[in-house]
Amino acid sequence: MKKNKTNANAGTTEFKKVPSGIKGFDDITGGGLPKGRPSLVSGGPGCGKTLFAMEFIVRGITDYSEPGVFIAFEEKIDDLKKNFKSMGFDLDELVHQKKLVLDHITIERTEIEETGEYDLEGLFIRLGSMIDEIGAKRIAIDTLEALFSGFTNEAILRSELRRLFLWLKDRGVTAVVTGERGERTITKYGLEEYVADCVITLDHRLMNQIATRRLRIIKYRGSVHGTDEYPFLISSDGISVLPITSMSLTHKASEERISSGIPRLDTMLGGKGFYRGSSILVSGQAGTGKTSIAATFIHAACKRNEKCLFFIFEESESQLMRNMKSIGINLEPWVKKGLLKFHAVRPTAYSLEMHLSVMLKLIGEFKPSVVAVDPISNLYPIGDDIQVRSMLMRLIDFAKSLHITGLFTNLSNDENYGVFAIEPTEMHVSSLMDAWLILKNVEGNGERNRAFSIIKSRGMAHSNQLREFVLSDKGIQLLDVYKGREGVFFGSARMAQESGEIDNRLRKNEEIERKKREIESKRKLMEIEIEMLREKYAREEVDMKILIGQDISRERTEAKTTKEIATQRQVDR
């Protein structure tokens, strides 16, 4: 299953490699440990050497069907069995299946007197018989240096050790030999000089009072390998090494858009919301509603039947759920349904690397489609800017490679910056983010309101408008802010401005009405006048017509009279 995994850093090799089965280790080594050769694992007490060796053997049996032999110089077999039972390794069962041989070699100097020349052929015979017994392909020897406490003749011991490593090579078994770290050398007794192929160191150190486990490959002959220190994690199921720096920017970008859970925000984001698999930064001051945005986003994802993982560094799971209920977001059903998982832990509980390991592990197990981290700013006390940035980068890269959408909140605390001025720490992380939403407290008129804006959203046309961010028992609302000649207003000032504006508008309307009425009445007046004129005219017309009629009849009468007179005079014409 891990055989197919190769990473960009490690190239192909002439060496054949055997997958160790240790999570992540095979990725950073480009396939595992050198096949048929001994590898040295060194480290201080309690750094996980024995676990590394045992996991190599057990995973070899369970995952790659390679029987193995485990030689313990320090721990008794019963103790080993007990210790590894808690990790879920049932050594008894593997021994019973004849796939595992455990041997405890006791060396007590007090009971051994050296009386002349000797060699360690007994050890070789012992190893050989165990290897033959089950046909072992793997062997682990923990901690070989115990021999130095048992035998005084170092000359003999060294030549025998050299012979042992050659012998292991001859037998063709893949071996892991552990050694105690020395003051200046990789191992206390310089075992590294006999192991030419692969040397690994494990480290367990304190930084800012927080313990971090790290693994480094000092040398790996014939193979390209990462030279960094890789953080690793010991959890209930063994070692996980984090090969995250090998991530490259090759993830496929999704065209799919997912809702933010806030309809207005979706509108502002080109109408469709965020891209799936993108990383979103929500930054703002204390109490501006960052967690609410995260919870709303998660709520929306759960409604779509998508799995969500919520890392919270400030509140407990139940506290967060209670608080979110007050804005009408009930996350409880999703938890019960198994869609939502919380991981609440104080940032100072362990180191940055450990946080990352835990996160990656949980993501790998739970396989969510949305991950939220609230807030990333709480990581700053346990690491500097560069460390936090690199951790987030690895987290984001990991999420992106799995098409997981990530939402990260960030607490910005400097009040001296302008309305949406950007803080230096945010500059570090913002370039990792595809979308950046910002919240800001705006004080004025004896109250504080929240302003909201989208600073960037890669790959989409987004609104450049400021909105007022309002939390109510119905959830998040984004309202238009009042924009007038006098500036931008929020909250009750906005409302006052808005109501003032309504008054003005009403007043103007009345004016218009009044003017309209005035015109109307003028028009009516005019019409009446017209009517009067018309009537006057009509009357005059009638009078005139009568006069004209009189004139005509008079004329006719006159003409008739004239004719009659002429007739009477007997005018000849």
Binding site: E113, I125, S129
Partner: protein, 113 residues
């Protein structure tokens, strides 16, 4: 397993202060006929003859023939000599050429004086 019971010489002068002796069982673990294993065997026989007045048995165990015994008897170095009897069990390694150390290792140093 090669068992070589060796009977001690009969006419040895007895020391009065010697406690009542009991039978000694000595096991010599070797890996084949190497110079060291042969030397060890010779040295052991000489020491036994010289210092042990009682009955003693030397078993030579070749781990090449019985590899399992290396694990069972916690053997790493060869040659290894284990005194099974008398108790407590004593373990010494090497080709037994340093007689002084062998005597100390087998608690014979005191007895020989």
């Amino acid at each position: 397993m090669k068992i070589l019971p060796i009977t001690p010489k009969t006419n040895r002068k007895k020391k009065s202060e010697e406690p009542a002796s009991e039978a000694w069982i000595l096991r010599l673990y070797v890996a084949g006929q190497t110079p060291n294993s042969l030397t060890a065997f010779d040295n052991l026989r000489k020491i036994c003859e010289e210092y042990l007045e009682c009955q003693y048995t030397i078993e030579v165990i070749d781990l090449l023939k019985n590899p399992q015994l290396a694990k069972d008897h916690q053997i790493i170095a060869v040659p290894t000599l284990i005194r099974n009897l008398p108790t407590p069990v004593k373990k010494i390694i090497g080709n037994l050429s340093n007689t002084e150390k062998v005597l100390v290792g087998l608690d014979l140093r005191m007895a020989s004086r």
